[in-house]
């Protein structure tokens, strides 16, 4: 996995709450058996007109947000289905950071498997960031994962919380499975005990 340390980028604004995974990547694009190539379908139904042209009313189609790697979005981002196609599409499109006041649990977990940092802001912090972008589209934010700090030109930055193990894995770009397999002896041992305690599961 790509290590995540410090990023500076334009922050794009998506002032909508409860953005669900059906919007992030509509179901007609879930039939592929590969992990790649979902970025062109990100927010498909909002992003494109019926004839396939860009919907210029859709916020991410604004020229000022074109090269954004940071997405600032409303509360409860990523609700709905467990599809990892959602973070695959987000990462493939070019975002490596999301800032919102809350995330759906499964989506939040999925982000860490794909080198996307989901930063949790308070509602007030999020509102300030949204105001700053709205007033100055194309503004650049700096995300420093090592120091758990977001900085912005207008001073709306803050220190953010993140689970220490997730932070470590992200900074080092560690493969979760590889890390778990360092505990293979404990897993074997647990499984032996499991067979004794719950024999009907192994019958």
């Amino acid at each position: 996995m790509e290590p995540y340390k410090k990023h500076e980028s334009i922050a794009a604004l998506m002032n909508r709450s409860n953005v669900d995974t059906d919007q992030i990547i509509p179901k007609q694009f879930l039939k592929k058996v590969e992990r790649t190539g979902f970025g062109i379908h990100l927010f498909h139904d909002w992003r494109f007109n019926e004839d396939g042209s860009d919907n210029t009313d859709f916020e991410l189609n604004k020229p000022a947000f074109k090269d954004a790697h940071i997405l600032v979005a409303g509360d409860n981002f990523g609700c709905g289905s467990s599809r990892e196609h959602a973070p695959w599409a987000i990462a493939d499109y070019g975002f490596n950071t999301i800032i919102s006041s809350s995330y759906a649990d499964i989506f939040y977990n999925n982000c860490f498997k794909n080198s996307i940092l989901p930063i949790i802001a308070t509602k007030e912090q999020l509102a300030s960031l949204m105001d700053e972008i709205a007033a100055n589209e194309g503004v650049r934010f700096v995300v420093d994962l090592e120091n758990q700090e977001l900085t912005t030109p207008a001073g709306n930055g803050f220190k953010f919380e993140i689970d220490p193990s997730r932070k470590e894995n992200m900074i080092k770009g560690l493969d979760d499975i590889g890390l778990t397999l360092t505990h293979i002896a404990e897993i074997d041992q647990y499984e032996e005990k499991h067979k004794q305690s719950y024999p009907w599961l192994w019958a």
Binding site: K31, E34, Y103, A203
Partner: protein, 465 residues
């Protein structure tokens, strides 16, 4: 220390809690379908890893499968490849797959309980958010992403953060025709789609105890719509009776051992929950969603709210957007909303009891002019059972289509979908924009409410039929 059911299951599945790392939880059962697994198998292959415990896995094909003309090749070449990839992956790894032609085929969360594959006290995962269904048995069951599917295949474990606990107690008895679906929708209406975020919900109270196992599945299925990681109901005699004799349920001496363990699982008297929510069952009338989020829901006797009815700015805006997308006016009576299509099915409401109640309402009626009504059994076993009881005839005589099993119009991946502007009464679980087809408008309801809407052509209060 007094423990909740969630804490008991967590503690008994904790493999290791290494400093600086997320706790590692053991996984007993792993369910699979064709949409969220191919990239996980590919990952295993690339890393030269094997499935650690093939017998822990049960797989089906459900999302992309056609619900008619099943004998013809799948028309969509990308869907066809996904189906074929699933078959190849299962064969290569020695996994139990109920493919499209298998008499056990159906929607994963319908098929798994039918075969007694999930028991109380288990940790169960699937690359599907509606895995929460299996909490009906007192199993900790939750949806995971595809990277995690690969993780579980390789290690039989998952790094997990411990959730908070929420008790939702529904006191009193449900009124006639109010169902588990109505409880689930009423809960989402009350606490919101983020209300359960970070929590595992335990449902309790008289109304829950009285639910059948199938009703409990419907309820737990929609724990995710309230934002929760999982939903749980304490196992009781109904649970044990349901499981006994099924293919993967314990038998003989093992049955007694299992039973003793299962009886130890319910939350201890006085165990503490982080959050407690209570509802009165008698207040829950048949529910209908009016918006584009499951929390935008109200009772059948109500009217559609107006944006200014909400104090919260975000909810006000959401209401405005939803009314716009749904092409509905504030203050319209719910019973005045017309429908174009009715869908009964899905992992939420595709079980035999759902078709029994819908057939009961449908008997002797005709589908209204200009309405299309589709019944999609959750599995071949549900279909067979319904046909043995003559339910298929009731639907067909009334003008319904009686289809083959699959996820179908719940998420419209298989070609069954709404067209732009079409309005459905649907027994599925999500009413997001475009969920049932781009530009389609979804109203979530119970099977009884869906059946009544099919013959009336609009929503009706089934208590008055």
């Amino acid at each position: 220390m007094k423990k909740t059911m969630y804490e008991k299951i967590w503690d008994s599945h904790l493999v290791v809690e290494a400093p600086g790392q997320a706790p590692l939880l053991y996984v007993d059962r792993h369910l699979m379908h064709e949409v969220t697994s191919p990239q996980a198998f590919e990952g295993l292959r690339l890393a030269n890893r094997k499935v650690r415990n093939p017998h822990s896995i049960l797989a089906t094909m459900d999302h992309c499968v056609p619900t008619k003309d099943r004998d013809l090749p799948i028309a969509d070449p990308i869907a066809k490849k996904q189906i074929e990839t699933m078959a190849d992956n299962c064969q290569e790894n020695g996994l139990n797959l109920y493919d499209m032609k298998n008499p056990n085929n159906g929607v994963i969360h319908i098929v798994v309980p039918e075969h007694g594959f999930v028991h109380p006290g288990m940790v169960v995962v699937c690359g599907d958010s509606h895995t929460a269904t299996h909490g009906a048995f007192g199993a900790l069951a939750f949806g995971i992403g595809t990277s995690e599917v690969e993780h579980v295949m390789a290690t039989q474990t998952l790094p997990q953060m411990k959730s908070k606990t929420m008790l939702i107690r529904i006191d009193g008895a449900l009124s006639k025709f109010a169902s588990a679906k109505d409880i689930a929708l009423a809960i989402t209406g009350k606490i919101g789609t983020a209300g359960g975020t970070g929590h595992v919900i335990e449902y309790a109270g008289e109304a829950i105890t009285k639910l059948s196992i199938e009703g409990r599945m419907t309820l737990c299925n929609m724990a995710i719509e309230a934002g929760a990681r999982a939903g749980l109901v304490a196992p009781d005699q109904k649970t044990f009776d349901y499981l006994q004799g099924r293919e993967f349920a314990p038998s003989g001496e093992n049955w007694d051992k299992a039973l003793a363990y299962w009886k130890s699982l319910p939350s201890d008297e006085g165990a503490e929950f982080d959050t407690i929510v209570t509802l009165n069952a008698a207040d829950i009338e048949p529910q209908v969603t009016w918006g584009t989020s499951p929390e935008q829901v109200t009772g059948i006797t109500n009217v559609i709210p107006a944006p200014e009815d909400f104090d919260d700015e975000i909810k006000r805006q959401a209401c405005e957007n939803a009314l716009n997308y749904m092409d509905l006016k504030a203050h319209t009576k719910i019973t005045d909303i017309p429908v174009d299509l009715v869908f009964i099915g899905s992992c939420t409401n595709g079980r035999i009891e759902d078709f029994r109640i819908a057939a009961d309402i449908t008997k002797g009626t005709k589908v209204a002019d200009n309405v299309t009504a589709i019944a999609v059994p959750g599995s071949y076993h549900v279909k067979q059972q319904a046909e043995d009881e003559g339910l298929d005839k009731i639907f067909i005589d009334a003008g319904w289509e009686w289809r083959e099993p699959g996820c179908s119009m719940c998420l419209a991946m298989n070609g069954d979908e709404l067209t732009v502007g079409q309005r459905s009464a649907s027994t599925s679980n999500r009413n997001f924009e475009g969920r049932q087809g781009k530009g389609g408008r979804t109203h979530l309801v119970s099977p009884a409410m869906a059946a009544a809407a099919a013959s009336a052509g609009h929503f009706v209060d089934i208590r008055n039929i």
